[in-house]
Structures are given as structure tokens and as C-alpha cells.
Symmetry: C2
Subunit: 249 residues, 2 copies
Amino acid sequence: MDAQTSPPPLLSLLGKLRQRGSFNVLERDSVLALPCTVETVRARKHVLRRGGRSDHTCVLLSGFAIREKIVADGSRSITAIYMRGDLINLHNSMVGIADHSVQALNDCTVGFVPREAIKKLAFDLPSVGMALWYDSFIDASIYREWIANIARRKARARLAHLLCELGVRLEAAGLGNKLSYQLPLSQEHLADCVGLTPVHVNRTLKELALSGDITRTTREVAIADWGKIRETGDFDEEYLHLRDQSAFA
Amino acid sequence: MDAQTSPPPLLSLLGKLRQRGSFNVLERDSVLALPCTVETVRARKHVLRRGGRSDHTCVLLSGFAIREKIVADGSRSITAIYMRGDLINLHNSMVGIADHSVQALNDCTVGFVPREAIKKLAFDLPSVGMALWYDSFIDASIYREWIANIARRKARARLAHLLCELGVRLEAAGLGNKLSYQLPLSQEHLADCVGLTPVHVNRTLKELALSGDITRTTREVAIADWGKIRETGDFDEEYLHLRDQSAFA
DNA sequence: CGAGCGTTTGATCGGTGTCAAGGATCGTGG
DNA sequence: CCACGATCCTTGACACCGATCAAACGCTCG
């Protein structure tokens, strides 16, 4: 707490990893001491490009970003939404080749940590390694939920589900309240997240408002009745595994 | 090579992990020496049930299985297809709670390895740990591809993509030829994999046959022209990461 | 004030779902 | 060896959800 350098950039990463397991002082300090270069990425710019080789693992320190894949006919699928503290390319920094692109939604700050430093830390301190591994598992869990969401739910439920997930994650990241938050995504982004067209997203949001699930002003979502939207979206936050740390306390 | 016990059950797991990194003798033997209980699971039976606690990691030793999630209206989404050598619940054996069910498609043999044994091995021998971690990354990569497939491709492309993936994976697992293989899935299963109805899958398969992409007898798929189906399915096997080990040789 | 982007709305189209019935295949038991 | 039931596959007619096309509207920021 003395007048050292500015607050360590990886604090938000630490916060996230500690949800995955409890750390002692050494583990905590080792995460914060990871070598880290901070850069700003402008809105709409790519943090990573498909096909690029990356030997750094990126941590999103502020702002929002999405992972996208373009299919043959040119349309886009968004496969993940990233917010503060998220590791946005742990997989492809380890596997070595970026299979998708990651794009900044607004101005972001990104921490770049050398892959080898992460790897070394993961195996030197199993608690940290396990927390990182868990993070991969939880990512996978979210992907599975998205598959089911897109494959088997109708437009209203898909959107409701996504709005619930965003609320819960924003709140967990300390970025807002799940019942009322600022949407970082345009309707076109929402459409690409749930496999619909922007036009239909627009109509469906209107429906959700009419049926009393949400109220909205531009880019601001307020959930009128959590129980209600939870039901129309068939949402159960278990898959986000936000409270697993209790098993380790 | 002496007259010991029968061939070690985890040979197929070893084969898979070695695609993720090269092992020395110690590493190889340690994987094979993992404690492992083998059980048979009958067709249509559940290997794992949603909500169950599992402290064992399951390796599929023979047969096929699927991971499924049932949504509110009762319809099913299949989020993964497992074949010989696949770790079918690494994530939830570590996280502790099964978030989906895994069901056997035909009679399967499954190896149950205590979670703690896997964990210990992963951190004692980083090469093995890294290979396991990679496996999680590659699972995630496949999930992302499925999201894009379901979200943004039309019925013909979705199915073509799935047929390509199955062929390539079967061949990689030493279970057949990507140009001609036995389908382990019914049309209803296919439908639940790609977010369509069984009826539409049926019609679409017919179309694919008519257009010369495939020929088929019951449950047997033969791909007439790999280049053609690859194109109609917008398929690029990169996301399966089958040849990454070259980077480690 | 104008440009650019995102939102909103209407009209129409088409891909896929739904419902229903019949046909094929296979394992099992008489 | 045949009959039977279960499961899966196939086909047709029709309905509907969401896509597409097009245009106007509203912010926001130079």
C-alpha cells in the first residue's frame, strides 16, 4: 500500500482467477508480477487477426470485445463476448494459431503477457494452473450453452437468454447491475450472437418490451422482472460457474 | 512386451494425447499406468447424468457417445460427439458438477480415472498437463465452429460440414476413412447436432445425394467428391487441430 | 449542418417446421 | 423361418418464423 507504481494492471485478471480457486499470498503476488505490456486498442480495431501467430496471451483490462468468425457467404457469427478480466486468447496463444478474430467494441486496454510466462506460472504453482484450466472449462461451458441457445430456442428466448447472461456477467465483473445495465452491443452485434438478422432482433426486442420483460432506452437495458425474463429465456446461470469457489474455501 | 495383463485400456487416450505433444517414455508409461476402471455402458444409457457429481474422468474406449442438453420446450441439442480416445467429461470432473448428460449411442466401454490421479499427473509431468490442457482448447475450438455452423449456415451447408467433420475425426481416430464411413448417428441425432428437424435432415441428405456430394445407403455415408462437399459445407479442418504436433516434433 | 451509423417499420418471400401417414429395416421370440 | 414390434427413414401438404428488401428516422460527432 505504499507509494509504488500505479495499480498493477493484472488486478482484474487476479479477480477473475480467484473466482476459480483461492490463492495464497505467493500465488496472488505471482499473478500480479507477470510481465505485462499494456496497449490501447481502438473501437472496431482487431485485437487479434485470424491466422496470425500469437505468442502472447491477452487479458482484457477495460472495454468490451467480441470473438467473431466469418462464414463462406460473408455473414458473421459472434462466438464470445469479452469483458474486463477475461482472457481472450488463452487457447490460441497456447495452440499457436488464431482461428478467429477478436475485435474491440469500444476503446479497450489490453494486457499482453508472454505465453511462456503464463505456462511457467501454471506449472510452478498448481493453484494458479488449476484456476487457468478451470477458466478454459468454463469458457467451454458457455459455448455449449450458446450452441443449445441458437440451435433450439426461438428468437425471443434466445435474446432473453443473452440479456440474462450479459447482466449476470457484467455484475460478476463489477461493471453494473444485472437488472439495469448499459448494452455494449449494437442490435447487429446481438443478431450475430444469436444467429438472427438485425431486423428481427429489433422486432424481438420490441416484443420483449411489450410483454413487460424489459424496458429500454437506446442501448440501455433494464430488466423489469428478473423472474419473468429468466423464464422466457430458459436461463439458469449455473453454466457460468460463478460461485464454484465455495467448494474451495 | 512380455505376457503381462491384456493391452492397457488407456492406449487410445495416449494416442490422442500424443497428437497434442510428444511424450518421452516416462510420460507415456505414466499415462498408461493411470488407475482405470473399465465399464460397459449399453446403447441409449447415460454415461453421465446432468446434475450428478463426478469425481472420475471418463475416457471413451470404444463406441460412440453424445453430449446433450434439453431446453425448456423439451427439444434436445447435441453439443458434442465423442469417439474412441475422447475425454468425455474432463471439464465437469474437474469443476465438479455435470452440466449436461452424456449418452451412449451404441454399446460403449468407458474407462473411469480418478480425478485426483489425472490432476496429479498433469502437474507432475508438464508435458502431459499441457497435452490435457490442449485437449480442452481444441474442444473449445470445435464448439466455436459448431456455433458458427448452426448460427450462420443453411441446412445443406450445416449437414455437409458435420459430415466432413465426422469423416476427418473418424479417420484421425483410426476408425475409418473420411471418404466412406459408417454413420454412428440416426437422422434425428444429426438434426439435434445442427439445429434442424429430422424431417428436414432427411430431405437435405437427399438433396446432397442428388447434387452428387454424397452417396448413401442406410447409415453408410460415402463422399463422392471431397472437394465438392468441402465447399458446400464451407469446411476447413484447421479447427480440429489434428496436426499441431508437428510444431513440437 | 451534414455524414455516418444505428434503429425502426412495412411488405413480401422463402427456408424450415409441423403434422400426418406409410414404408423399410432389424432384432427378438414363437 | 416367420411374425411381430420398435425404431428409423421417407414423403406430402401446409403453416409459420424469421429473412430479405427497401425506406425513413434519429442520434452523434466532426
